[in-house]
Symmetry: C2
Subunit: 369 residues, 2 copies
């Protein structure tokens, strides 16, 4: 499918950075959590090469926050995820698969512990807020659950450390992976986490207050001139190479965390009280019968995948490719797919039904790097 | 904002009709419930004139369904809405505002009663499924809550009765407004409701099974050749004229049903057990201090609104326009906005801050018709 036009309305919400994003010449968006997510500036490939060499500023406001406050916050947050949060401390970010009562994925957010009775959940593309509010209401928990006016801004790429240090000072360099510090910008305290949706390293700044959006964007742009800083966004090629999963693309409510390769984030045995525990304990014992894998699809460049492509082995359906795109660096079509255990071993040859016809493909041991 | 490109992926789900929609030359989409919603085929204005004269086929698969089954279904459905469902019968469709515990709108779906223990909720643009599942889990209700493979297809326009009768037989003409009948297509029973998101009349066909999507689309297209049937979609101009509210555009979780002019769908006194009852009983007594109104904005054609425009009266903020577009038939900019009670009387003159500068506007008594 060639890129069609997007009808923009208030419902496809603009962000605190939208004016700047437009001024930087954004070419395409996705819609994510009812909000505009810039996807392409120069071109998918040019943005990709730049991301791997320099530093980019990403408007990821669509990673909306859910704030949980109040005396039952710790109980509620542990209900939401099979990851054991017992030893989570303030200043930490945890990647937290969240599931329904059958163990089906509802979202795969990053949770930040702000205090003993206050958590932020930075969500992927589903209205997780509705699930959290429904649970809290049904269980009569003493919590307040809201979407605060916080807009995540990602600084990604090999020069991200340098750029962030120029704005937040040298102490930002000491922030460890999936930790955050609270540092001032224009007299306001902001959460700066070492995290982000690329393999190139960097930070996510939780811009607390839309009024700060343009000032902080401008500050980064001005400070990074000599670093060739540019506007960017989560890059399809880079994320498929690195096998960063995308909720709604590579996993849905149909899948358990174990199928998604997220079993290591499930301590279902000790995460007492979590929703879906019964179902996931069963899965943890038996293991999944299909799982996420990286694949290399042979032949010329395919158009980026826009829907599931069936995977065949010995003439039978053995899985589905959920994301696929041509990789200039690896000179092959890189893909993410769910593969049945009969065919998931590294090196297994399978066939993929693409819009360009049947193609051979190879299951990979690891992501591409 | 000129229309940018939309990056399509599996996450922006295609529908059972997408191949046909593309073959009909779709030019633009919105993303609605994580799914493609076709918005423009010829042009916004050409589609509008055609809709008012002929008949169109709309892919509104994005109006996803929630199916609630099981012994506690009736209890759960009454919890979800302040509308009194006591006398609802099978075969009826109810427009049902749904709110959270504070009375804030979560969605404004149409609910269909399929049986005493089975309901369909046909939802606007929010993951209401998550709220329903959260409540059901928290309250340990004996229900099954799912998104079935049902794709609504709307047949809208003055010739809709004729076209639908050609496919489903003359009995379809007897279906009353907001009632449905179950009629066969290719040997399969489908729900046909007299409803739809336009003022031009018509039906919504609940296509039960994606495999039926292309056959039924083709049947309507073939049967309607002499009626000048075309592919279409919810039309921004027609819906703003008629003041069809759009969740996410004209109302959000910030608003009560009463602010949205939906008080007549709230029998909070008798809808015992509904979530938000305490808050809405209070609102029902005092009345809202702001409410949805139609407005006519003076001057030349404005670009369609893509974000809130402030409304001023006597130099103070008195509301916000949420949807606005030029109407060829009324030869003015038609708009929907939330206006404070000090300025909501018909005929009141206000100022609206548009992208083209400050414009005078007049509050209307009724929608445009």
């Amino acid at each position: 499918m060639d890129a069609p036009l997007l009808s923009v309305s208030r419902r496809t919400r603009q962000t605190a950075f939208s004016n700047r994003v437009k001024a930087c010449g954004v070419k395409a968006y996705s819609v994510y959590n009812h909000m505009l997510l810039p996807t392409v500036f120069d071109s998918l490939e040019a943005d990709y090469h730049h991301l791997k060499k320099q530093v980019q500023i990403w408007d990821v406001s669509c990673q909306r926050l859910i704030e949980i406050c109040g005396p039952d916050s710790a109980r509620l947050i542990q209900m939401l995820t099979p990851r054991d949060l017992t030893h989570m401390a303030s200043g930490q970010c945890y990647y937290t698969p969240m599931v329904d009562e059958t163990g089906g994925m509802l979202n795969d957010p990053v949770t930040l512990k702000r205090a003993e009775d206050r958590y932020w959940i930075c969500v992927a593309d589903s209205d997780l807020l509705f699930w959290v509010k429904g649970l809290a209401y049904g269980l009569r928990l003493e919590v307040d659950v809201n979407e605060p006016d916080v807009s995540p801004l990602a600084i990604q790429g090999p020069k991200a450390d340098e750029l962030v240090a120029r704005i937040f000072g040298p102490s930002s360099r000491d922030i460890r992976f999936f930790r955050y510090a609270v540092l001032p910008f224009e007299g306001r305290d902001l959460v700066i986490a070492r995290s982000g949706y690329s393999k190139q390293g960097g930070f996510e700044i939780y811009v607390d207050g839309s009024d700060l959006g343009e000032p902080i964007w401008d500050a980064f742009m001005a400070a990074g001139q000599d670093l060739d800083v540019r506007a960017g966004g989560p890059n399809l090629i880079e994320r498929v190479e690195a096998r960063f999963l995308s909720y709604g693309n590579d996993m849905t409510r149909e899948n358990t965390p174990h199928e998604c390769g997220l079993g290591k984030f499930c301590q279902t045995q000790t995460a007492i009280g979590c929703v879906g525990r019964d179902a996931l304990l069963r899965v943890a014992v038996e293991g999944p019968v299909r799982q996420i894998r990286s694949l290399a699809i042979d032949g010329d460049a395919l158009p980026p995948g826009t829907q599931l492509w069936q995977i065949y082995g010995n003439g039978k359906r053995v899985g589905q490719v959920s994301s696929a795109v041509w990789s200039p660096d690896f000179e092959t079509n890189v893909a993410i797919g769910m593969v049945r255990m009969t065919h998931w071993d590294a090196g297994t040859r399978v066939e993929v039904e693409t819009p360009d016809g049947m193609r051979s493909a190879t299951v990979q041991e690891t992501p591409f790097f």
